[in-house]
C-alpha cells in the first residue's frame, strides 16, 4: 500500500475559559483534545475517524488541514509536514467542515474562479473543471445565485465543488453528512465513493456507524483524544456490527478508567 498520510504522536491542549469550564463541567484549566495520536492512511482509500462528540476528531482534522498546529508531534501529508510546510500541504488538500463558510454575497460561479485563482490553477484548466463539477453536482442550475439565497443542501454542494477547484489529492471532510437532508446526504456519500474511484484519498470524521460501514476502508477509533484501535473495517468489526463492536471497545476503555 502507498502511504500518503502519516500522523506521528500529535497532541493538542486547549486552555479553557471560565465559560467553557462550566460547559465541560470541569475545574481544570487545560483540556487535552488530542493525546499522542498516531495513524497512517493509504493513497486511494477512505479513512474514517470514528468517535463520540468531543473525542478530538475535529481537532485532529484541523491539525491536518494546517488551521491549527499540534503542541507536539507532526503529520506528513504526501511528503510535506503540516508543521513546517503548511503552504505545500494546503495546496494538496480540500478541507470541508461546517466552520468554513462561503461568502454570502458571491455566487458559486464567482467563488469557484476566486479559489481556483488563489490556488494558482491555470484559467483554461479551471474553466474545464468547473464545467465538469458544476454539471456533476447540478450546480449549473444555481451557479449565478448568491450563496445567501441557497438552501443548506445547495450550499454544501457548492462548498464541495469549490474545495475541489485545485483538484486536490486528499480530501479532509469533517462530519460529511451532518445537518443534511437524506437526498443531499446520499449525493455526498456517492461523491466520496466516486472520489475514491478516481484515486483520491479521503480522511473523514464521523460518529455515524452506518456511514463508516458503507464507505470506509480503514477506521480509527478515537476516545478521549486517544486512538484506541486503527485497522481495516473488517478487522475492527471482528465479526460484530460496527456499533456493537464500538460499544465493546468504549466500555473497555472507559471501564479501565473507573
Amino acid at each position: 500500500m502507498d502511504e500518503i498520510l502519516r500522523v506521528e504522536g500529535i497532541s493538542k491542549t486547549f486552555t479553557l475559559s471560565k465559560k467553557q469550564q462550566k460547559i465541560e463541567r470541569t475545574t481544570l484549566r487545560k483540556k487535552v483534545a488530542v493525546d499522542n495520536l498516531s495513524f497512517t492512511a493509504n493513497r486511494g482509500e477512505i479513512f474514517g475517524l470514528l468517535g463520540p462528540n468531543g473525542a478530538g476528531k475535529t481537532t485532529t482534522l484541523r491539525i491536518l488541514a494546517t488551521l491549527i498546529k499540534p503542541d507536539t508531534g507532526d503529520a506528513v501529508l504526501d511528503g510535506y509536514s503540516v508543521v513546517n510546510e503548511e503552504e505545500e500541504v494546503r495546496s494538496r488538500i480540500a478541507f470541508l467542515t461546517s466552520e468554513l463558510k462561503l461568502e454570502d454575497f458571491f455566487t458559486p460561479n464567482y467563488l469557484f474562479d476566486f479559489f481556483a485563482r488563489l490556488h494558482g490553477v491555470p484559467e483554461a484548466e479551471a474553466a474545464e473543471r468547473k464545467r465538469t463539477l458544476f454539471e456533476r453536482f447540478g450546480i449549473d442550475k444555481f451557479a449565478e445565485v448568491k450563496v445567501k439565497n441557497l438552501s443548506t443542501g445547495m450550499k454544501q454542494k457548492a462548498s464541495i465543488v469549490i474545495s475541489l477547484a485545485h483538484n486536490p489529492d486528499i480530501i479532509i471532510f469533517d462530519e460529511p453528512t451532518n445537518g443534511l437532508d437524506v437526498l443531499t446526504a446520499r449525493s455526498v456519500t456517492d461523491f466520496l465513493a466516486e472520489m475514491r474511484q478516481q484515486g483520491k484519498t479521503i480522511i473523514l470524521s464521523t460518529h455515524i456507524f452506518s456511514l463508516v460501514e458503507k464507505l470506509c476502508d480503514r477506521v480509527g477509533i478515537i476516545i478521549d483524544g486517544r486512538m484506541t484501535h486503527c485497522d481495516t473495517l473488517d478487522a475492527i468489526r471482528d465479526g460484530l456490527s460496527l456499533e456493537d463492536r464500538f460499544f465493546e471497545i468504549y466500555k473497555t476503555v472507559k471501564g479501565g478508567e473507573e
Partner: protein, 401 residues
C-alpha cells in the same frame, strides 16, 4: 509574481464585494456626501430665512418727541416708525413685557435740539438723556434697540467730529489692514480642515474595515481563505489596500459634500467671502499624499483591532478609544501655535498627518515635514502588515473562542 497575483485576487474580490453591493456603496460612499450636502444646504437656507425675517418691517419703533434734526435718519431705519397716537404707559407696561411682540419705545426729552445746542459738556450738568425701552428676550426688539442706539451714537459722533480714523477716501480705495487675505483664510482652513478630514476618514475606515475583517471572522469566511496556499501577508496587504481605497472614497465623498455646500451655506449666513480657495495643484497633490498615507495607517490600526475582535460589534467597541485619540489629535491645530519645527514630531502617527495638513492649508508648507509624515505613515503601514500577518497566522487570534 505569485505574491502579486494573490494580492490582486484578494483586492479584486474586495472590489467586487464593495462595488457590487449597492446598499453598501450607497451607505458608505454616496450617502455621507449627499447627507452633508443636503444638511448644510438646509442649514444655510434656514439661516438666510431668519435673516430675511429680521429685515421685514415687522418691528415697530415708537418715538416720543422726535427732534426735527433726526427725522431724516429715523425715516430711513428698516423698521416701522410710529411717532404719534400711542399710549406710552401701556407700551412700557404691557406691550414691551411681551417678548412675542417686536417693538421698542424711544423717548427723547422735549425740545431735544435746543437742549443739546445749549448743553456744555464742560459745565458739569448731566447730559440730555434719550431713553430706549426694549426687551432683550425678543430678538427683533433687541435688534431694533441696537440699530437705533448705533444711529444715535453715530449722530452724536458726527456732531462733535474733531478727527477721523481710517476714513474712507472717496477717490482711492485705500487699505489699512495689511494682512494677506489668503493668510487669514488659510489660518481658518488650517485649523478646521485637518480635524474635519481626520474625522471623515476615520468614519470611512469604520464603515468598511470591521465588516471586512471581524465580519469575515464572525461569519467563518476568513477560515476558508486560510486553508488556501495563499500567504497570510498577501491577505493582509490585499485587505489593507482595498479597504483603504473604500475609506478614501467615503472620506472624499464627505469632503466634496462640504466643499460644494460651503459657498451656499456661507452666503446664507450673510458672510460674503471669496470662496475661490487659493491653493495650487501642488498643494492639493501634497494633501492627497498625506491623506492616502493617513488612510493606510487608520485602516491598518482598525484592521488589527478588528482581527482581535470576535465580531463586528466588539470591533466597534474596541475602536472607540482610537477614535477619541484621533479626534483629540485633530483638534491640536486649534489649540494655537504653529506646526512644530522639530522634524521628529512628524514621526508621531496621526499627529504628523494633522500638522502636515494644517501647514499646507495655512500656506506654511514644510516640505521635509510632509515628506517625513508620508514616509513614516508608509513605514507604519508596513509594520501593521507584518503584525496583521502574524495575527492571521495565530490560531489563538483567528480561532480562539
Amino acid at each position: 509574481m505569485r505574491n502579486q497575483s494573490n494580492v490582486w485576487t484578494i483586492v479584486r474580490k474586495e472590489f467586487a464585494r464593495f462595488f457590487g453591493d449597492r446598499s453598501l456603496l450607497f451607505t458608505t460612499v454616496i450617502m455621507p456626501g449627499l447627507l452633508i450636502y443636503i444638511v448644510y444646504l438646509q442649514m444655510g437656507e434656514n439661516i438666510g430665512k431668519s435673516h430675511q425675517d429680521d429685515n421685514e418691517d415687522t418691528t415697530t419703533v415708537y418715538v416720543d418727541n422726535l427732534p426735527e434734526s433726526l427725522r431724516g435718519d429715523f425715516d430711513s431705519i428698516p423698521f416701522q416708525l410710529v411717532t404719534e397716537g400711542f399710549n406710552a404707559v401701556a407700551l412700557i407696561g404691557d406691550s414691551l413685557a411681551d417678548k412675542e411682540r417686536s417693538l421698542i419705545y424711544v423717548n427723547f426729552p422735549p425740545h431735544f435740539d435746543s437742549l443739546i445746542t445749549a448743553y456744555d459738556p464742560m459745565g458739569g450738568e448731566a447730559a440730555p438723556n434719550v431713553k430706549i425701552y426694549h426687551n432683550s428676550n425678543s430678538d427683533n426688539s433687541e435688534l431694533a434697540y441696537q440699530t437705533v442706539k448705533l444711529y444715535l451714537e453715530d449722530w452724536e459722533n458726527s456732531r462733535s467730529n474733531m478727527f477721523d480714523i481710517n476714513a474712507e477716501s472717496p477717490d482711492a480705495e485705500e487699505t489699512f489692514d495689511m494682512a494677506d487675505k489668503d493668510d487669514s483664510l488659510g489660518e481658518i482652513l488650517g485649523q478646521l480642515f485637518p480635524m474635519l478630514l481626520m474625522m471623515l476618514l476615520f468614519s470611512g475606515c469604520m464603515a468598511v474595515a470591521p465588516t471586512a475583517i471581524a465580519g469575515e471572522k464572525e461569519r467563518g469566511t476568513i477560515a476558508t481563505l486560510l486553508v488556501t496556499p495563499m500567504r497570510r501577508s498577501e491577505l493582509a496587504i490585499g485587505k489593507i489596500l482595498s479597504l483603504s481605497t473604500f475609506a478614501m472614497l467615503s472620506g472624499l465623498s464627505s469632503f466634496l459634500g462640504i466643499i460644494l455646500s460651503l459657498p451656499r451655506m456661507l452666503k446664507g449666513d450673510g458672510v460674503d467671502i471669496d470662496i475661490a480657495i487659493p491653493y495650487t495643484t501642488g498643494d492639493y497633490l501634497l494633501i492627497l499624499c498625506v491623506l492616502i498615507s493617513t488612510v493606510l495607517v487608520l485602516v491598518s490600526c482598525i484592521s488589527i483591532l478588528s482581527a482581535l475582535a470576535k465580531d463586528v460589534k466588539s470591533a466597534g467597541t474596541m475602536v472607540l478609544p482610537l477614535m477619541l485619540v484621533v479626534m483629540f489629535v485633530g483638534f491640536t491645530p486649534m489649540l494655537g501655535g504653529d506646526a512644530p519645527e522639530a522634524l521628529t514630531a512628524y514621526l508621531v502617527p496621526f499627529y504628523n498627518s494633522v500638522q502636515s495638513m494644517a501647514s499646507i492649508f495655512s500656506f506654511d508648507l514644510k516640505p521635509a515635514a510632509v515628506g517625513i509624515t508620508v514616509a513614516a505613515n508608509i513605514a507604519y503601514t508596513a509594520i501593521a502588515v507584518f503584525v496583521l500577518t502574524r495575527m492571521f497566522n495565530s490560531e489563538k487570534v483567528m480561532f480562539g473562542k
